[in-house]
Symmetry: C2
Subunit: 366 residues, 2 copies
């Protein structure tokens, strides 16, 4: 199967917000649809922490993407009308330059020599892709989860380049509960002896730490309510149970294990640490003299759709309300949608029945 990925070379040097710069950096992205001659129909999608740029299948790469039911011809983000770009975050390991990439100055992997990464850097790198494609102004900027924070950074750093914004299950800053969860995920990786301050190999890999980090992620990305209906207290069949002492007995435990297995060796631990910390650092209040609301009020766009879900414990609904109010007070026409999907933070990936019409309807009206 062909790889639909394109690569955009970042300006070199590419300055980073907290100091340092990248040389010869690049960003992976994919596109769907056709750009209008006036480049007026472009949508940019900024992703959560772990997805790659393959949001949906395409002719070049027909494998399903992470937002397959949302994006494509006649789907809510309709590629018959829109030209859609999805960017792999700078600092990730899915094609963009990050801690797992080779540092051209040394010929070795960056590892912890990668400069400190912020979501503003992620936004700036995505903006470079958009500019490179000849798009002066996005018809719409969509940001999900971590990508929603990066989107706020994008609009703050590149005023006038976004007409409409869709903010999905995100926040204007990390609250202490989210910081505590992410800190513990990072700590479980750091405490794994194999992490070795970032100098692991495939043979000495911080598998245990990544396993715990991922499970903690999955627990907080979903919701207790969904699991009550889905797993209740159903036990594993005896032959499915591992024999080790205190091994798994309940279905919910093997569900977490299956999720962790899919992730542990498919996301670089150092990249995870960098992006996780960047999520904790991000704070719109920095742009508003210490006030989130004042920071948001500096974002000038025409339309916004802000979606959140009542069961999200990581990015609680009140933080989406905060974004909606801020953008509205900044002059945008804002639609606020509070869904009661049972799936928690991950609802945007799963509950397309509700997210689809909200996002599709908003785009139709643009």
């Amino acid at each position: 199967m062909a790889d639909a990925r394109c690569y955009h070379n970042l300006p070199s040097p590419f300055p980073m917000k907290r100091g340092g710069e990248l040389h010869g950096g690049h960003v992976a992205y994919e596109t769907w649809g056709t750009l209008d001659p006036d480049a007026g129909n472009a949508i940019l999608i900024l992703t959560g922490l772990s997805p790659n740029a393959h949001a949906a299948s395409s002719e070049t790469d027909p494998s399903p993407g992470w937002w397959e039911r949302m994006l494509g011809p006649d789907k809510p983000i309709d590629t018959n009308r829109w030209y859609v770009v999805c960017v792999n975050a700078l600092g990730s390991d899915k094609g963009s330059t990050g801690p797992d990439s080779i540092n051209p100055d040394t010929g070795e992997r960056y590892r912890l020599d990668f400069p400190e990464l912020t979501l503003e850097d992620v936004a700036n790198a995505a903006h470079a892709v958009v500019e490179g494609l000849g798009i002066e102004r996005l018809a719409c900027l969509i940001g999900c989860s971590m990508g929603g924070m990066a989107a706020l950074g994008y609009m703050l750093h590149h005023p006038g380049t976004v007409r409409a914004h869709i903010s999905v299950d995100t926040a204007p800053q990390a609250q202490p509960f989210a910081i505590a969860i992410r800190s513990l995920q990072r700590e479980s990786i750091r405490l794994d002896r194999n992490w070795n301050e970032g100098r692991y190999t495939e043979d000495t890999y911080p598998e245990r730490g990544m396993n715990i980090a991922r499970k903690l992620g999955v627990i907080t990305y979903r919701s207790a309510m969904e699991w009550n209906g889905r797993f209740a207290r159903i036990k594993l069949d005896p032959e499915e149970r591992p024999s080790d002492p205190f091994g798994f007995e309940f279905q919910v435990e093997s569900y977490l294990q299956a999720h962790a297995r899919k992730f542990v060796h498919h996301f670089d631990p150092n990249c995870y640490l960098y992006l996780s910390r960047a999520s904790d650092w991000f704070d719109v209040a920095e742009y508003g003299g210490g006030s989130v609301h004042e920071g948001l009020k500096r974002i000038c766009i025409e339309h916004a759709l802000v979606i959140g879900v009542t069961t999200d414990i990581l990015f609680p609904l009140e933080q989406q309300e905060q974004i909606a109010k801020g953008l509205e007070d900044a002059g945008a026409k804002v639609e606020f949608v509070a869904l009661d999907s049972p799936q928690g933070h991950d609802a945007f990936l799963v509950d397309i029945e509700h997210y689809g019409p909200a996002i599709g309807g908003f785009l139709d009206r643009l």
Copy 2:
């Protein structure tokens, strides 16, 4: 300072619910107040997973207990009127027989040779203490958190021995979210190489695993809402920050670290695993042909007070409602109190302003 602990020798052999038996086992407990000649003023407290029997200070041990503001002369649980017993759970390491105790059959620590532990065993051991004190019928049985589940087991296994019951921040069975959290806590201990299938020493101690388990506990025992007010995004002073890569930066991280430090070497990891698993196993539905409600309906008491808190993510309020309804349908006069303390599951330890009057008022009316 004198130790106020008493010890009750369990019948030997002491049969365990899931098989096996203990020889020469005992349970540590403390008492406050004076038992009436007819033994009609006795209250038993069953604790959460980690506390010892020292619920409050006494003449013998004036150090503050874990429920100091709740228990004592003229306090909500007024020891001028009541004779109060608090038992250290069987399987714990605070004086009662558990995995960290010496197995008299081998002269070595039990470690994983300790029989499988259930909360019904914890209840039966507590009941043996009460019988040993000459108390046929408790005026009130109070169970907090894990102890609340053990209390339900106590009433199911010893019908007619409890007149009134106070159920605090607990559940009739573990839901999958709570199972997932506890499973991850156990896994973080098990994945620590030093755990070594239970054969650690003080020099090779599963400190990293215990550290993660405890932090995950503290995160889920408290609430996001409380932390927003308490920590917000306050950063540590530069001199307080560890220099290690990805080290702590936010106050909430050092708060968790301080909690973990206090716990890691003060609770035996194997005991933790046994009690944690027992909490997942407990299920009132076992006593009701698969129905929690039918199980609860088998509990015959006169009065009950059921307290829960809206911010508890581990034992959500609807589970306390379930207990209240079940006990009511079983014929008890039930008071249900839903508090909106911001502190989450641990509110019963902290928000004495609200828990105190609820518990004290209920006891006054008995």
